[in-house]
């Protein structure tokens, strides 16, 4: 049976000549549908690179990436289609569009193409606790509010795969727990495969499995041991 996400011996290098960094070193990772997996590790370990490869933003130098039963080794055009149809991405710097109100941020992905099973943007904003600020633009929102709008935006197309980069970086403790709990709830509820990258060990107990990353290598740990 196909997994929600499968990385099979994926290697990704940056730079060339003398100056090569191996961001991902033969990384293998399988995430089932309905499962939320956390990846922890220090800055520069390769966590964002892992998400970029899993999200089809870049093609690895070696190894295979599958989202459901779809291979992500195609052209940029093919990968763009897979991104808009199957993948939700919550960026580290939440990357909202300055001109759009919160509700329009969430609507935006629906304008990229046809989406049969899309969700109602306002309902989704309510679910992340942002319905009262639906008309605000990013510069009128706090870091945590922007983060939650970013999550709603990633969920609106009902993605099969949800990739979340450092969701708690801009949040206080209480908010951090709320956000990761929300992600876990949505993952189980919508049966997505979710990968959350974080260096906030506090939130790991909401996740089903935890991996540790260092120097581009990935190894499993148990939440209790972290």
């Amino acid at each position: 049976m196909s997994a929600g996400l499968l990385l099979d011996e994926v290697t990704l290098r940056h730079g060339d000549g003398e100056d090569i960094t191996t961001a991902l070193d033969e990384v293998t990772l399988r995430v089932e549908e309905g499962e939320i997996v956390a990846v922890v590790g220090p800055s520069g370990a390769g966590k964002s690179s892992l998400l970029a490869v899993a999200g089809g933003l870049t093609v690895p130098d070696a190894g295979r990436v599958l989202v459901g039963d779809v291979d992500l080794s195609g052209t940029e055009r093919d990968r763009a289609r897979i991104r808009r149809e199957r993948i939700g991405y919550v960026f580290q710097s939440n990357n909202l569009i300055p001109s759009l109100t919160a509700v329009d941020q969430v609507r935006l992905p629906l304008t990229f193409g046809r989406h049969d099973a899309s969700r109602d943007p306002l309902e989704l904003l309510a679910e992340v606790g942002m319905e009262h600020k639906a008309g605000r633009r990013p510069h009128e929102l706090s870091g945590g509010e922007r983060q939650r709008v970013g999550i709603a935006r990633a969920l609106v197309t009902r993605p099969r795969l949800l990739l979340v980069d450092e969701p708690t970086a801009a949040l206080d403790r209480r908010r951090s727990h709320e956000v990761v709990e929300l992600l876990a709830k949505e993952t189980h509820h919508l049966r997505m495969a979710t990968v959350v990258v974080t260096h906030d060990h506090d939130v790991l107990r909401h996740c089903d499995r935890v991996y540790e990353m260092a120097d581009g290598r990935l190894k499993p740990t148990r939440p209790a041991l972290v």
Partner: protein
């Protein structure tokens, strides 16, 4: 259009500034177009209204001064009349003079000498045609604006010939920015040779005209006629270039217009280049979320199209209003809907070209850059 409209509203002051620039360019284009059409009318409207297909000038005369320099023998009129394909040929004289009316109005006139009753002797809208009285003149309607009235007596400066205004033509008949007055050929010949009333004209005076006015079937071999008769034919269209200042004026204005188009394309292109470069991070996010190249292109170009169309329409509107005000002044100005439409369309098309070049450079931005600096 989802993003297009919201971006336009969000960055409205920036877009308004750019729209103002485009609108100003559009205004300038309308005014230039009006001025060039007006100048053409002022320069050659009287020639355009001649019922001739070509004019046979003196052989070898300078092409850009044919009307003032050419002297053709009266006998050549009959020679042209007899040629195959020529339906009409008549003597034509052209002289610029200063004159004064009995109402004490100073006026410059282009005197067109014609044989009364010939095919180029015009039918006035008011008054009567030239008759047997040698001292009659039929003037352009625009001469009335200058203060000439039907029935006035116009005295030609220096020579002293007195001409009674017996008819007024329909609309503008001007040549070299001067109102046209049609007079009998013999009178024209006397004025041209400076013969005062009652004085004896030199012997050659009555044998000389400026050119032979010819109306011929299309496909008539004018070159063969020129060889035979010893003249130099210009089609009516070609003869415009022989009217004073015409070529210089039209080519100057054309050059200004071409520059204006080039500038507008560059300005719009530069604006959209800056705008799209500023939008680069945003476009990277769109690409990272899976927006197709087509989506990003369509969004950016729709923005340019909306901006260009609105500001061009606004600018043309203001330009036409300003032009209508100018039209009522003595300035040569005439609004031609056709050339205004072409100018507006060209402005939009060139602006879109500038915008497209700017957008194409950025649409392929690597979606990875959406991950930002602190990846």
């Amino acid at each position: 259009m989802f993003l297009t409209i919201r971006e336009l509203v969000f960055a409205r002051s920036r877009f308004a500034l750019m729209g103002t620039v485009v609108a100003l360019i559009a205004i300038l284009m309308v005014l230039l177009s009006g001025l060039s059409v007006g100048l053409v009318d002022d320069g050659v409207s009287g020639l355009k209204k001649l019922p001739v297909t070509s004019l046979a000038f003196e052989r070898g005369v300078a092409g850009d001064a044919a009307f003032s320099r050419s002297v053709v023998d009266l006998g050549t009129v009959d020679e042209w009349a007899e040629r195959d394909g020529v339906t009409d040929a008549a003597p034509y004289g052209n002289t610029l003079v200063n004159a004064k009316t009995n109402g004490d109005v100073d006026i410059d006139l282009a005197l067109f000498g014609v044989q009364p009753g010939s095919f180029i002797d015009p039918e006035p809208a008011r008054g009567t045609r030239l008759g047997s009285d040698p001292n009659e003149i039929v003037v352009s309607a625009t001469a009335l604006d200058a203060g000439v009235r039907l029935g006035d007596v116009v005295t030609v400066d220096r020579v002293g010939t007195e001409l009674t205004v017996v008819g007024v033509l329909d609309g503008q008949h001007t040549y070299g920015h001067v109102d046209i007055g049609y007079i009998p050929l013999r009178t024209w010949q006397e004025i041209r040779t400076g013969t005062a009333p009652g004085a004896q004209a030199p012997a050659h005076a009555y044998e000389e005209i400026t050119a032979v006015a010819v109306r011929s079937a299309s496909g008539t071999d004018l070159a063969a006629g020129d060889r035979e008769v010893g003249t130099m034919s210009m089609t009516l269209e070609e003869s415009f270039g022989a009217s004073p200042g015409y070529t210089a004026e039209t080519s100057t204005l054309q050059m200004i217009q071409v520059f204006l188009y080039a500038i507008s394309a560059l300005v719009v292109g530069a604006f959209f280049t800056v705008l799209t470069i500023q939008r680069k991070p945003e476009i990277a996010v769109l690409r990272a979320m899976g927006a197709s190249t087509r989506y990003v292109l369509r969004d950016s170009l729709a923005q340019s199209l909306v901006l260009l169309t609105i500001s061009t329409v606004l600018g043309v509107g203001i330009g036409v209003a300003a032009g209508a005000a100018i039209s009522s002044t003595p300035m040569p100005f005439s609004l031609d809907p056709g050339s205004i439409a072409v100018a507006g369309l060209l402005l939009v098309v060139l602006g879109m070209a500038g915008a497209a070049i700017a957008v194409l450079r950025i649409v392929k931005v690597d979606p990875l850059t959406a991950l930002g600096g602190n990846r």
